[in-house]
Amino acid sequence: MSPEAAILAAILLPAAGTLGILLAGRFSANLREAVTLTTSVLLAANVLSLLPDVLAGARPAVHIATLVPGIDIAFEVEPLGMLFAIIASGLWIVNSLYSIGYMRGNNEKHQTRFYAFFALAIVAAIGVAFAANLFTLYLFYEALTLSTYPLVTHKGDENSVRSARVYLGLLLLTSIGLFLPAVIWTYGVAGTGDFTDGGILAGHIAGPAVGLLLGLYAFGIGKAAIMPVHRWLPAAMVAPTPVSALLHAVAVVKAGVFSILKVIFYVFGVDFLAATPSADWLLYAAAFTILAASLVALRQQNLKRLLAYSTCSQLSYVVLAAALFKPLAEVGAVLHIAAHAFAKITLFFAAGAIYTASKKTEVHQLRGIGRRMPWTMAAFTIGALSMIGVPPTGGFISKWYLLAGAYEADNYVAMATVVLSTALNAGYFLPIIVLAWFAREEAAPGSVGAAAASGVKKDHGEAPFPAVLALTITAALTIAFFFFHQPALQLASEISMGLP
Amino acid sequence: MTVFTVFFIIFLLTLMVITALAIVQTKNLFAAAMLSGIFSLMSAMIFFLLDAADVALTEAAVGAGISTVLFLGALALTAENERAGTAGRAAALAVVTVITAVLVYATFDMPRLGDPNAPAQLHVAPWYLEKTPEYIDVPNVVTAVLASFRGYDTLGETFVVFTAGIGVLFLLGKAPVGQPKVSPAMTFAGKTGLRHYQIPRVVGRLLIPFILLFALYVQFHGDYSPGGGFQAGVIVAASVVLYALLEGEEQARQALPAWLLRLMAATGPLIYGFTGVACMLLGGNFLDYSVLAHDPVHGQHYGILVIEAGVGVTVTGVLISIFHSFAARGAK
């Protein structure tokens, strides 16, 4: 298959999968799940087939349509998009596997709808990854918001509808209110929105306007969850765990930081921003988000909310690294997208597995759970270590490059932020690990009734097999990324070498 | 225009303002309807004095005749007196004051009444006066402009009448749910009309043929003097109203049944429209009557005759239908 055909197939496969899921859902759940898995495997294989070309320096492109002369829907695969597409499509397989266990284990309703919109979200994510210009990026960015809305509100009770309203409201507010004007502004001054090495804005805009435009992008791309536009992220925690995993690791937030990187690399141009003092604020905003979100995470009792704030802080690592405007740091930013994806999906899978097996949602309920669910908690531990940045996990690699970049830039604020936040990460993850492995299970009299009332199961083992399998795979990937990050590194350095 | 005429106009205009104020002031709606009939008669007189004879004839027939009949018909079905007063009077007065000020302000740059050098007298209008004998050759230039130069407007006008007819039939054609609150005695024609009163009946019956004859004259003499299809239709309708008053609704309905009226209302516009289409088929533009005969001027004559007939049929059918609709609404 030619690379161009592969690009189209990458968009059309999950779209066809959506239809297939809807159709199959009418007949049997097994068939539907088979369609989901087959589609995801085909998609990943298809995306991977593009990798050799891209590694060889090619940039396959497809032009779909022209809305107005100058404004096109077009796709182009460049290294950063390649990486994002691989992560999204690869983790979709694992996530589907996990979903099967989770959704069946919890007897969720509307499973067909769930899988269909999941596939639709993947269409949007791949569209974001391969977008060749700002307009196409914006198109699929919005499609991603809308296709994940039914997933967030999946439960359909009042609480989830309210939270989903925050999710949709904040993401649309930022994207329509800030991102869209930024896109139109860019097209207005540069005359184009095509992603180009070295940027398109240099020479068209200068002074404080650069900072302002960067601000419109940074906060307009609300999926990147830079404070104060992060609020949708904890709100979205009402969704079923596979959705949280999708949001946090596979598609949504990654699409956010990915879009910010795209804008910094290909719209502004790293050198242009580095030479513009008014763009420096981004670094501080990211540093603030890292620390503030970590501090909030420290105080969370609900496991999923804790993970949400952790994500919020981790995303800003990517932004922070990118905002250093140094090649090594950019490599760190790119690697961190991947490293965080593997680790965070593991953590969410673990949280979901705990919920499926025991209906436990709070941190203090996890005393001694490691003995009942060793696989799950082992995976959780690996994910947490990666969050902190302990070798041999993927998190170490990206932090390494990030720190190297900060050192190169002589930026002590960034270095201090990374060090401090590492301590904070350790501060909220280590107690959980200690609690899970070394504390004794609670058996206080009187709490049994309360526990029973809240539906907590006392006597349980591991979660259903597909879920455990999935989280084992992702935990393995987290470690594997430490040893085998060469392709990702190559992709990342290709981007930073592409910079003049 | 003599000084006497000017003063008479001023007198009439002042009287109209007073009448208008009285219309707004009175709480009795019958009185208001009657006063607005009188108002129309006065404006008809002014129009006549201002050299607009066709308009004067029409305004008298419509404003004083048809509107008054319609108002009375509607009032019989609704209420005789205004119950509530006004609302938002201050706001309304404020808007009124502003608009009046704008208009009076605008008047000071307007051409004076009768100014032969006013822009309206120098452009387009002289062409009509000059070319009518050559192209159309009818004495009444108003008819020439109405039926040919701006015949497309008149086509639209015919369809406006037709639309109103459809509307009234649509709204009032179906029997109301439940019994109406109005007693049949209150409708102005009633079931039997004035059949028990011999003198008006005999006089009226004598009059009706003459009215119809007059209508035919107005219809076909429109080329030469004020009048035309519209005025003729109104007069025919008036004679049917008179007949209904004398002989009762039922009789009038039997003389001209509903299906026939509906057919007339629909056929009239078709006659007009298809005259235009025929012109197209004969190689001219839509409504270009010149192609209807070998001699373009004759063609214009034929065309005007046919379309005026169409207008007359439409207006007759629609107005009588409307009248019956209102009357029948009360009788049920």
Binding site: - | D51, A84, T100, M110, D153, K181
Partner: protein
């Protein structure tokens, strides 16, 4: 004398506004329609006042047309159409009022609004 030659237009303005006032401020629907037809009639006066020419006659040619001045036929034509439009609107408006009366047993705007609120 010259001022009097604008008198027509002033009366037009005043009649227009009397009608307008009745339409907007009166609550009785029939009265509103009466006001509306006053409002339209005023416009007839505006147009017809543009027609006449000093020393002219109505634009109808008789035997001896040479050397005579005729008034403008166009305003008459336009107003003939406008009169027809006016009576058509009136007929439709009255039909609606009759239906309103049947549906609400009232033709007063404030009472109807009250009934709708229930």
């Amino acid at each position: 004398m010259e001022i009097l030659e604008l008198y027509n237009y002033w009366v037009f303005a005043i009649l227009l506004m009397i009608g307008f006032y009745a339409v907007t401020a009166k609550l009785n629907l029939v009265k509103k329609l009466i006001g509306l037809s006053l409002f339209q009639s005023a416009v007839f006066l505006l147009y017809i006042s543009m027609g006449p020419v000093e020393g002219g006659t109505a634009p109808i040619f008789h035997a001896d047309v040479t050397g005579r001045v005729f008034s403008n036929p166009l305003p008459s034509v336009l107003i003939l159409t406008a009169i027809v439009v006016g009576i058509s609107t009136l007929a439709l408006g009255l039909a609606i009022i009759v239906r309103i009366k049947e549906a609400y047993d009232s033709v007063e705007e404030n009472e109807i609004r009250e009934l709708d609120r229930q």
